[in-house]
Symmetry: C2
Subunit: 339 residues, 2 copies
């Protein structure tokens, strides 16, 4: 695609992190999707990423239609530099594309003794409470905070009951979803994993009004405000779709998709070692909470992904045969050896 | 209680806002609770609120055990002043008490053309996913953002499936809860609204693992980190209880309860009028989404509370007879006329 070496390394690191952490839907499996977006000129492989406005603690970054995988990491660099100087840094990004897993970008702040924050909007798959129309993406929120002797706290969550990747797994197996994940084109509850292609929608975290779907909807909306309304990116149902074959929305109120990246220097609040000691105590408290019958331990956000990473660093990463086929085709096409 | 006039006005405004906005559980109904906390010396009516550490965009505020209703507003003043100078302001608060509704504090930023953020931790009523023990409070998140011709966006949500106030209403009526709101002392699902007194717990937003309760748990945990780990307040199961008759936890890793208050100056990102025009377009998009059968319109976060406020400004606020009795008793005791 003619990416610079530096950008190729950044993008590969972000994708590899998803595969290592067990989030297969956001790793190398997406590579052919990014290439297809580049082919239809929705991804610019050689972007001139630039700050269009800034203050000591804020910036708006124009991603020049590049890979979100790369742009979000540039945004985090800026956020960290600002946090070094004035305590926190907040970068809202316009004119970007899909950025991979939010957690990876948030975790970049950890080695600087900072809390990392990463959010992104995404193409509309989610119906707000009482709505038939799909108005929001799965709009994830990630927060990573360092601990002392314990591993870091890493929360990374779609603001929907189930992420789209979970739905895709059921589609491949031709299985039904649990109740409360999706609705049909009239807004009725369904368990059809293929319902999105038939006018259905994913549901906000909470599933229905009685179980707090208005809260999941509000959280997804917040992500949209921070990522797109603050940056001048597209928002709500006008966010560009990820699949290259889906036409762009006719209306384009902004530029590309939007992210929101933050870095919080811990010693801008209190000494980092005191914070980390309390984080260890906090984490140990949760690990020592009494688990329900049938569960070995209460988990802390980030545990499942860290355990997957340990296993996969040791045993390697299994790829779905479709993904291997995709990679062979890409290799042949770009004259790159792939065995 | 010997509050200064200035503090009494701040506290009254915060309580009145809850009653006007239809959140009866957090308004004047709480007054006798605050007084009881003062009687057992857990609330200091004449606090010396002070900044203990700061950078251009951050501060830690020591509330000196005062009313959270007052301290959170002082924190927002500091956050706004910092945002004026460097784009954003973030104040983590230690040594505070219950601060009323989060939304009120977030909304204080609106008239400054800023987005307001308010979070607080709270005494442990919530069991994380797979846990029997109650480890977190209902830890709300509020975000308020101004629009142009449309009313502001105001999201204010407990990170649980149902707020404790909703449970209290069912307790008074002796009704059962919907499935997915609470669990019993063994972690089994129950619909007993009185279960918290029997070792049960509220559930994180999502209700169970299959419906994303690990996400609600992670969100509640984030609020705890920002509010207490950054400030040096008590956290997790060690947050002091609201009812004055409940003994303090034996272990006290920090001081009082914690809040996290933020102000984001919109024109630190882009011109406020452009942002507001896009907010109007965003809001109109959601109001024009097709509603499900049986619903007149898709709501925008803040709509129900704004509608309640319009009605109550016109018709007055109905008080529960228990609350009126409470106020009569308080009036008699403090020699204040109440008719």
């Amino acid at each position: 695609m003619n990416c610079s070496d530096a950008h190729a390394v950044l993008a590969a690191n972000a994708l590899l992190s998803a595969d290592l952490r067990g989030i297969d839907s956001h790793g190398i499996a997406r590579l052919s999707g990014y290439v297809r977006l580049w082919e239809v000129k929705r991804v610019n492989a050689t972007p001139a990423i630039k700050i269009v406005h800034e203050t000591p603690s804020t910036a708006v970054l124009d991603g020049d239609q590049g890979l979100g995988l790369v742009i979000a990491q540039e945004a985090m660099k800026i956020a960290i530099a600002k946090a070094e100087k004035v305590g926190t840094g907040w970068v809202s990004v316009q004119n970007s594309n899909h950025f991979g897993i939010a957690g990876y970008h948030a975790m970049l702040a950890l080695e600087h003794n900072m809390i990392g924050v990463a959010m992104t909007n995404a193409s509309p798959l989610v119906a707000p409470t009482f709505s038939i129309d799909k108005m929001l993406g799965t709009n994830p929120i990630a927060v990573a905070a360092p601990a002392g002797s314990q591993p870091p706290f890493v929360a990374d969550l779609a603001t929907t009951t189930a992420a789209n990747g979970k739905l895709e797994i059921l589609q491949r197996k031709n299985e039904e979803t649990p109740a409360g994940w999706v609705q049909d084109q009239s807004g009725h509850s369904t368990t059809d994993a293929h319902i999105l292609k038939k006018g259905g929608a994913l549901l906000p975290l909470g599933s229905d009004r009685e179980h707090g779907s208005h809260k999941g909807y509000a959280l997804g909306a917040m992500v949209d405000l921070f990522s797109a309304l603050l940056s001048g990116a597209n928002y709500a149902p006008w966010v560009p779709p990820f699949p290259a074959y889906v036409p762009m929305p006719a209306q384009q109120p902004g530029k590309g998709i939007g992210h929101f990246i933050g870095a919080i220097r811990i010693d801008a609040f209190r000494p980092a070692d005191e914070f980390k000691k309390d984080m260890d105590h906090w984490i140990e408290g949760f690990r020592n909470a009494r688990p329900m019958e049938g569960h070995y331990q209460v988990l802390v956000p980030g545990d499942p992904e860290r355990i997957a990473e340990q296993e996969r660093l040791q045993d390697g990463i299994s790829l779905h045969e479709e993904v291997v086929k995709d990679l062979h085709e890409l290799g042949a096409r770009f004259d790159l050896p792939f065995e």
